[in-house]
């Protein structure tokens, strides 16, 4: 497509131009007359501002192309002008449904670059909170996915339990969603004492609630009709198209980063990786439901084995001194001042750290140039890569099935557009 040189000219695209524009690795079918339909960006089932261009033969999808970028906020560019600690707050805003996973991925990359490791207590707290975030993210997924498939009541139940988890986050970090709780070298502060009873209570009632959701969906004939055999993707295709997370495991590929390349002490926990082989929407649904149960197992083990000790590493160049020391220690005042005005320098070099977010592989590529700000930050976000396989899943499906397929790969647009 050629750009108009006149900046005031309104660009109107013909169908051919649109086809040329969206011919991304997919063949355009024959010479027959197909209808072009633009779905979104303001469509309720696109989970944000995703625009899909559909080529339809009757009600069957011949071709599909996602058009993204409506939520692009230049997070990677902005982070190059922020110090390592300050850049953290931007990671919350990418995958706003599980900010803990983003925080963890970014913080682990910073710590890897610095060559430090968090204390055992901080690592266990990080795991507990990340798994709570996984449950809360899957709850939003289940609620909205069911809403897309016209099951209204599931949504209300899911948000009830999610609210409880967000209350725990607020108790811990002072924020419900944009937590920024993990910091380089440890945590913002230690857990409050109400934390453990609240999580114990959650662990007590949650298994029966998951059973309730399953009672509403798992054997529901309408649910089965809408999800079984829809959006099938084979194991080979899923790997070749870079799918990760429950979407990949729904196709029978056993790859979970928590098991394969453990980080933050995940090797100490006993949990299973749920696996399904059908590769359809229903298989992905089953994987996520089972994952919630496994997350509860991890949280329980974490609480039982929560070690005592400090939550921050003993390095005043990276971690600010506690408030109580500022009153009587000149050294602490100097460190505090230096940290908040200059930050810390990270060595030259680049690292790549991936974590298993609720949606799949969330990875952070970080290049330091020896100064207090990163020279390049890049996020490999699971929703963005999973979206690439939407066309192969939707080909030959009905328009109504596309809605189910989008729901089943669980996209978050804030993470796609960054």
């Amino acid at each position: 497509m050629t750009l108009s040189t006149d900046p005031d000219a309104i660009q109107e695209l013909t169908v051919e131009e649109l086809r040329a524009k969206f011919g991304t690795g997919m063949e355009i079918a024959g010479d027959e007359e197909y209808m072009l339909l633009s779905m979104g960006p303001q469509h309720p089932s696109t989970h944000g501002v995703l625009r899909l261009l559909l080529e339809l033969d009757g009600e069957t999808v011949v071709n599909l192309a996602p058009d993204i970028g409506f939520l692009h906020t230049g997070i990677e560019k902005t982070m190059e002008s922020k110090r390592y600690t300050l850049g953290l707050v931007l990671t919350d805003r990418m995958d706003y449904l599980s900010p803990m996973s983003n925080n963890l991925g970014y913080i682990l990359a910073v710590e890897k670059l610095l060559g430090v490791e968090a204390t055992p207590r901080a690592q266990v707290i990080r795991v507990i909170l990340t798994e709570l975030a996984r449950v809360s993210s899957h709850l939003v997924w289940l609620g909205t996915h069911a809403l897309d498939l016209a099951a209204m009541s599931v949504f209300l139940y899911c948000f009830r339990e999610r609210e409880y988890i967000l209350d725990i986050f607020e108790m811990v970090a002072g924020q419900r969603m944009m937590v920024s709780y993990f910091r380089p070298g440890g945590l913002w502060r230690d857990l409050p004492e109400e934390f453990e009873p609240a999580v114990r209570k959650f662990l007590e009632f949650m298994p029966s609630r998951i059973a309730d959701y399953e009672a509403l969906t798992k054997n529901n004939p309408i649910w089965l009709d809408r999800t079984k055999g829809v959006g099938v993707v084979s194991a080979e295709q899923a790997v070749a198209w870079g799918m990760t997370g429950p979407s990949l495991r729904g196709s029978g590929v056993n790859w979970d980063i928590r098991k394969a390349q453990p980080y933050s002490g995940y090797e100490q926990y006993d949990f299973d990786v749920p696996l399904e082989t059908d590769g359809d929407v229903y298989a992905r649904y089953r994987c996520r439901m089972e994952e919630m149960r496994q997350s509860l197992r991890i949280i329980e083990q974490g609480l039982d084995n929560l070690p005592d000790g400090p939550v921050n590493i003993d390095d005043p160049k990276i971690v600010p001194p506690p408030r109580s020391e500022l009153g009587h220690s000149m050294e602490a005042v100097i460190h505090h001042f230096k940290l908040w005005t200059e930050g810390f320098d990270a060595p030259e070099g680049f690292v790549y750290q991936s974590v298993e977010s609720p949606r799949g592989e969330f990875a952070c590529y970080l290049r330091g140039d020896g100064g207090p700000k990163p020279a390049r930050v890049h996020f490999r976000t699971p929703s963005y890569v999973n979206l690439a396989s939407l066309p192969i899943m939707s080909k030959g499906a009905f328009v109504a099935d596309v809605v189910a397929i989008i729901g089943s790969i669980d996209i978050v647009l804030g993470e796609i557009d960054r």
Binding site: M1, L3, S4, P7, Q11, K21, G23, T24, G25, I68, G69, H72, G74, E76, K77, T78, S81, K112, L113, G115, V239, A240, W241, G242, V253, W255, A260, Q261, G349, F350, V351, Y352, S354, E361, A363, Y365, R367, A375, R376, H378, R380, Y384, V385, A388, S389, D417, R418
Partner: protein, 173 residues
């Protein structure tokens, strides 16, 4: 045998001159590959029975502005059967004449290369669908480059009032 070493040996056996450098940092191995042969190396790494790098995690580029070559493209590979990560890094001296696409090795690469082109302007040879992905169709420039300003409004002073006023987007009489 050490997987890190095995990769280097296998590449050297097939393409003797293709490796420019091997760097280890924080337990991660980076292999600098000659730009012209990235596709062949990727094909080898994916198809070799002992390596099986069947999963392409990510493609991202770096802008190292004062230096030459200015651009570097990283390929983050992962082998699900061998449980091993690897980074290939190639230099792109001229962003308009970048490395060859690896879209026929891993289909997802087409999609990942689009992002690199949109934000950093490194053009991949043979990728026919490079287009504006995140930015509007008529956007000028590539924002993740180091010479691209972060964006702010210029302050008008009496000596340059007219000059800056002419560039402001609001309607004029």
């Amino acid at each position: 045998m050490n997987q890190d070493q095995l990769v280097v040996d296998k590449i050297k056996a097939a393409y003797p001159d293709v490796i420019e450098d091997v760097v280890d940092f924080r337990g991660e191995r980076t292999i600098y590959v000659h730009t012209g042969q990235i596709r062949e190396v990727c094909q080898l790494l994916r198809d070799d029975a002992d390596l099986q790098y069947n999963f392409l995690s990510d493609i991202c580029a770096d802008d190292l502005l004062p230096d030459f070559p200015r651009f570097a493209v990283n390929y983050h590979l992962y082998s699900i059967p061998q449980n091993h990560r690897l980074r290939l890094r190639v230099w792109a001296e001229d962003p308009e004449d970048g490395p060859e696409t690896v879209g026929d090795v891993w289909p997802v690469a087409t999609w990942l290369e689009m992002e690199v082109w949109d934000l950093l302007g490194v053009r991949f040879k043979g990728n026919g669908s490079l287009r504006r992905l995140f930015l509007p169709e008529d956007w000028q420039g590539h924002p993740l480059r180091k010479d691209y300003p972060l964006g702010y409004e210029e302050v008008q002073f009496s000596f340059n009032w007219q000059e800056i006023d002419a560039k402001k987007p609001y309607a004029k009489e």
